[in-house]
Amino acid sequence: MRKNEVMSGVGKRIVSPFISFEWRMMIPLLLLMAVIVAYPLLYSIWISFRNIEIIKPSQNDFVGFGQFATALSEPLFWIAVKNTFTFLVIAVSLELILGLVLALALIKQKRFSNVIRAILLTPIFVTPVAVGLMFRFLLSTQFGLITDILSRLGIHIDFFNSNTALLSIAMIDVWQWTPFMMLMLLAGLESLPKEPFEAAYVEGASSWQVLTRITIPLLKPVIIVAVLIRSLDALKVFEYVYAITRGGPGTATETLQYYIYKVGFGFYRLSEAAASAWIVVLMVMLLVVVFLWRTARGESR
């Protein structure tokens, strides 16, 4: 009886007095998205065209593209752009290389593979700000474990001077996020078809040939997605900078997110911070579109 009722309900679901069933099912999600995504985004666009500063509640005028011009003319903004992209290139390329090496090693592993994979994944589960604090102490010149061990071996490195700080922060990112890259590539490797590899084996191809001619080309879609996800994440680097260097020494580790945070919540110029953030969004969107368009064009060839 009940089953019949349910069945009849399914049959009638398209008939509705106001809106179709599908839309009614979508409405809660759409409302939620509108409240938590669309509203803040639209609000941030709105304030980027005004001159809102938290410290001056009486000031709220339309200034057109004034805030965008201010943000673009600020030398520190461009230093932050340069630092962030340098960080991104170093961190993501190292993560890709190391992740691929680890994934290739793990795919061949027969015993304890699950345990080893679980252990390798642990850095992902640590909060980035805790990772930042952890490395701040491990790499401290005063009492850092790593600096101490290195100095006993006769190696003397200051990890956070103006030449090394950005590189050190990129290395911390590599430590934390290589396992993610490895996980993505491992999943990709496991889903590859066996036939091309068997054919290569029969033809007597070397391991290097198999890797460069078969594995990597077949893995390309996964690599693209993994690199894209990591790059977008790397653009948001904030926690390590906040926990360790606060943008210094000088402007060596001033990254975009830290810069925007400082303008918005340090100096309370919300409109300028919103304008800077939107410039970054537009830049990233442009890069992603170009990147995807080029890869799509490459694939179609």
Partner: protein, 434 residues
């Protein structure tokens, strides 16, 4: 089917109406309760925000005494790390219903808070407090910071003016006297530097720290940050000399790889015997000389003197009353009590940083104090001290100048360029409104 749906929609509508009206009632009820409590003079709870520092703990420990005198006023202190304080305070200022009735204000925030009308002017209350309260007794530079456009907006809580902390035993060993000029300081530091110990622990960390330290060198060279009308005068030969000498000393005598060092690192170096001197807060001396403190066996060997040249950088915390609180009277009652000469002596003897001249005199001869020499030195420091910035957007100006100085120390900019850029940025930031 249609009927069924109409019924459902009506039910949903009804539920919303009930919820909405329920919310409305709650608000009205709480509003009524609040006004009732004010009318009937019931016990007041003062919600206060303070920084997580020993000076706040001392205040917390004195609340019991306050409640013996004022049993109707409960002070509920929320202690937060520095980074979170300004945001919380500002949100409370802007909220329709304030979160705090009593706040502490760091000196760089003073101008912005007062000029935007967030703080209650206290002149009337100070006048009413009369001679016994003796407002003029607070060190003059401290009072000056709290005055914005001719009105007083806050009462000093504790100072963090800088002095030179040095190892007395090492100075004696090398037959050195406290330095009176930057050149002398440089020579002393150089002489004290050996393979085992750095002549000085510096704090060239970007932002507030480097500016706070370097400004003492600037003052000693005869330079200034702002003139009497508040105009930026950083672009000067004195500033260039001061920065050149600062970098020379950093390269020659500070511990290796200390370019990111702030207060904690420098303090650790001095207390563990790795460095012989540091420019730091005057109240660090009792902490360093405390046999149970971080310095261990070295306790008792530290001394404090004025920054060479006699003028030091002044920082201070203040008590303020948010303009939007309903509990202004109760808040003032507490401020008047905690900053009164009697209670302030108590606070200082418990280890709080001094603010009143008379209290420093009394504490000097008191058996629970840290000795006459110490209080006399702090008195001289407080007589001639100046904040890093006085005017609008002080916080941002400090960060901007601090970044330029850090660039110069890191070798990324020449001294000349760094000073020119620092001065231009400071001018741009502070004159924005003018």
């Amino acid at each position: 089917m249609k009927k069924k749906w109409t019924f459902r929609w009506v039910s949903i509508l009804l539920i919303f109406v009930v919820i909405a009206s329920g919310c409305g009632n709650t608000e009205e009820d709480s509003g009524n309760e609040e006004s009732a409590s004010q009318e009937s003079n019931e016990p007041v709870v003062l919600r206060a925000i303070m920084e997580q520092v020993p000076d706040s703990d001392i205040v917390q420990s004195m609340l019991e005494d306050f409640n013996q005198e004022y049993p109707d006023i409960t002070v509920d202190i929320e202690m937060l790390p520095y980074d979170q304080m300004r945001e919380k305070i500002l949100s409370s200022f802007l909220a329709p219903d304030p979160v705090y009735d009593l706040i502490v204000v760091d000196n760089p925030w003073m101008y912005d808070f007062a000029s935007e009308g967030f703080l209650e002017p206290l002149d009337g209350m100070i006048q009413e407090a009369g001679d016994a309260y003796n407002y003029e007794d607070f060190a003059a530079p401290l009072r000056q910071i709290a005055e914005v456009d001719g009105q007083t907006y806050a009462i000093p809580f504790y100072n963090y003016a800088l002095g030179l902390i040095y190892r007395e035993d090492l100075f004696e060993e090398h037959a050195l006297n406290p330095p009176e000029s930057i050149d002398e300081l440089q020579n002393h530091i150089e002489e004290l530097t050996t393979d085992e110990i750095a002549g000085t622990a510096m704090q060239p960390q970007r932002g507030y720290k480097i500016f706070e330290e370097w400004a003492n060198w600037l003052f000693a060279e005869g330079g200034a940050i702002q003139d009497e009308s508040g105009n930026i005068v950083l672009d000067s030969p004195e500033a260039r000399n001061a920065l050149t000498k600062y970098i020379e000393t950093y390269n020659a005598s500070a511990p290796e790889d200390s370019i990111n060092w702030g207060f904690d690192e420098a303090m650790r170096a001095v207390s563990s015997g790795q460095a012989a001197t540091m420019l730091s807060y005057n109240w660090m001396l009792p902490t360093l000389n405390n046999p149970d403190g971080a310095a261990g066996d070295l306790a008792g060997r530290f001394a404090l003197t004025e920054v060479p040249g006699g003028k030091s950088v002044l920082g201070a915390w203040y008590w303020g009353i948010p303009a939007n609180t309903e509990q202004k009277d109760a808040a003032w009652t507490f401020i008047e009590w905690i900053t009164s000469p009697e209670q302030d002596l108590e606070r200082v003897l418990n280890g709080g940083a001094p603010i009143r001249m008379s209290v420093m005199e009394e504490a000097g001869s008191h058996e629970d104090g840290f000795g006459e020499d110490y209080y006399n030195t702090v008195k001289s420091i407080l007589e001639n001290a100046s904040p890093l910035a006085d005017g609008p957007n002080a916080e941002e100006m400090i960060q901007a100048v601090g970044t330029e100085l850090s660039e110069a120390v890191a070798g990324k900019k020449s001294v000349d360029q760094a000073i020119t850029d620092a001065s231009n940025k400071a001018r741009e930031i502070m004159n924005e409104e003018k």
